[in-house]
Amino acid sequence: MIEHLNMSLVDWSRAQFALTAIYHWIFVPLTLGLSFLVAIMETIYVRTGKEEWKRMTRFWMTLFGINYAIGVATGIILEFEFGTNWSNYSWFVGDIFGAPLAIEGILAFFLESTFVAVMFFGWNKVSKKFHLTSTWLVAVGANLSALWILVANAWMQNPVGMTFNPDTARNEMVSFWAVLFNPVAVDKFLHTVFSGFLLASIFVMGVSAWLMLKKREEWMAKQSILIAAIFGLISSLMVAFTGDSSARTMASVQPVKFAAMEAHYYGSDNAALTAFGVLKNSGKKIGEKEIMDFAFRIKIPGFLSVMTGGNKKTYVPGIYDLVNGPDTIQGILPVIIKIQNGTFAREVLADYKRAIMLNDTQQIRIIKTEYFQSKKFMDEKFRYFGYGFLSKPDNAIPNVAITFYSFHLMVMLGFFFILVCAVSIFLTLKGSIAKQRWFLWTALLSVPLAYIASEAGWVLTEVGRQPWIIQDLMPVTSGVSQISAGSVMTTFILFAILFTALLIAEVSIMVKQIKTGPKH
């Protein structure tokens, strides 16, 4: 029984999950992209038969192997945390996570781990074509793994394809395809894997730039930069395209998050997009939450409306409207109405629980028929079940400053990377890249920026989703297990030590291999 919600428990549980996810995500995107870059390089080797391409492939494969090995299994800890720290949530999610994660384990993980052995042990032992096929299968397998995890995450952002069973207090999947082709899942998968491809391209360009600055392996560095820059440019354009699509989907399924990432408080048509902005407190409030204003802003008039609905006339609701009303804004109910619907849904569930306790079979049948088997109740009331936990409307507003800055940092860096890739192609084809030391330094210093952009994307996704652990259905505070905050704090510290040690191990082994260079 929850006698009193202990916020430090919720905060520590959130902090621990964030720490684990952030560290885990340091390893993942490089695996996603570098696997494909290595496969492309090996394809050129197999087609040309030139030994220098094999040398180059093996060098990048080594760096891929180090990252893959250090990162492997760091995601399992997230699953431990679900069962221990987030038991209400895990139970409520039901089999929705089970199916995609099981597929991930069986299909993608085995595909990956089987062919990784061929990739590293199979040189000169299996045919060139079989080895190349294995390399491509590792790349496909790694990205398929990401697909299932992202499908599960997308369901938390936009729960679809399920129905709630009041007898078990669990959600049950009714359409696997609805879960798989959830618009958020499609956008998220494409946006995430292309951002991984981009990060890996920046990594390859950065390491190659370092080799050039040291005047080592110039041929290999040039070829690597050219391949990575082309792959990176295509990926960065796809990141921008899928990002735009993600934002459009977000505007309809997570409108408060969408408004928060632009610090857009008051709805309007011809709404401006902020290209760059610095926030300050306005002195005004929505409930107890401070309204942020711009201390400085460069805006693109009308572009937020165009992004949302395709033209400048599109009305873009602000945080204030989404919280307080009017009754509907383009079919979106304001939080104040959603709280009424959610509270009603919770009361129906409480009545059902009482009927079960009293073994009142007639009442059980009535509530089931009239409510839980009624499409109208499930679509109009129960879909806002989580709002029944909110004591006041402003609780539905995420941290606007973090959401805004993480979004804008990600976007600005994304455009910067497009430029870096384009300039790299130009200078490499011109044959002057080795002389442009300023650009080699830019490419090298872009590597940490790519990680920052990638992590900022997840900060936007997860902080912007607050207060929800499952959008509209369950707030974070209700998903947490009633365990001691002290034990969560202890494991938080253990994780911080473990992951920092892993990161140090990865960086030091990798730096040593980069300094060693490819084998002769």
Binding site: T62, I70, T74, G83, S87, N88, K125, A169, L390, I509
Partner: protein, 79 residues
């Protein structure tokens, strides 16, 4: 069946030779992997990460009842 054993032997040799001839970085990485997996499964999983509902309740019916109570308890609000 006759052909199966040479295949299994070949497969074994493939992995055996792979590990035996492993590069210095490969050995280092394997040491990191083994330490990491030991910490994750033998320490964290065993001592710190018990499944809350599995430990507390014997069957799914009890677990459902508990979560249902959590979902309907009026004191459970987001303040």
């Amino acid at each position: 069946m006759k052909n199966l054993f040479p295949d299994v032997r070949k497969l074994f040799r493939f992995y055996y030779d792979g590990f035996r001839d492993m590069s210095a970085w490969g050995r280092k990485v394997w040491v990191v992997i083994i330490i990491k997996l030991f910490i994750i499964f033998a320490i964290l999983r065993l001592f710190f990460f018990h499944d809350f509902l599995h430990d507390k309740y014997d069957n799914d019916k009890q677990r459902s009842k508990y979560v249902l109570e959590q979902l309907t308890n009026s004191t459970n609000t987001n303040d």
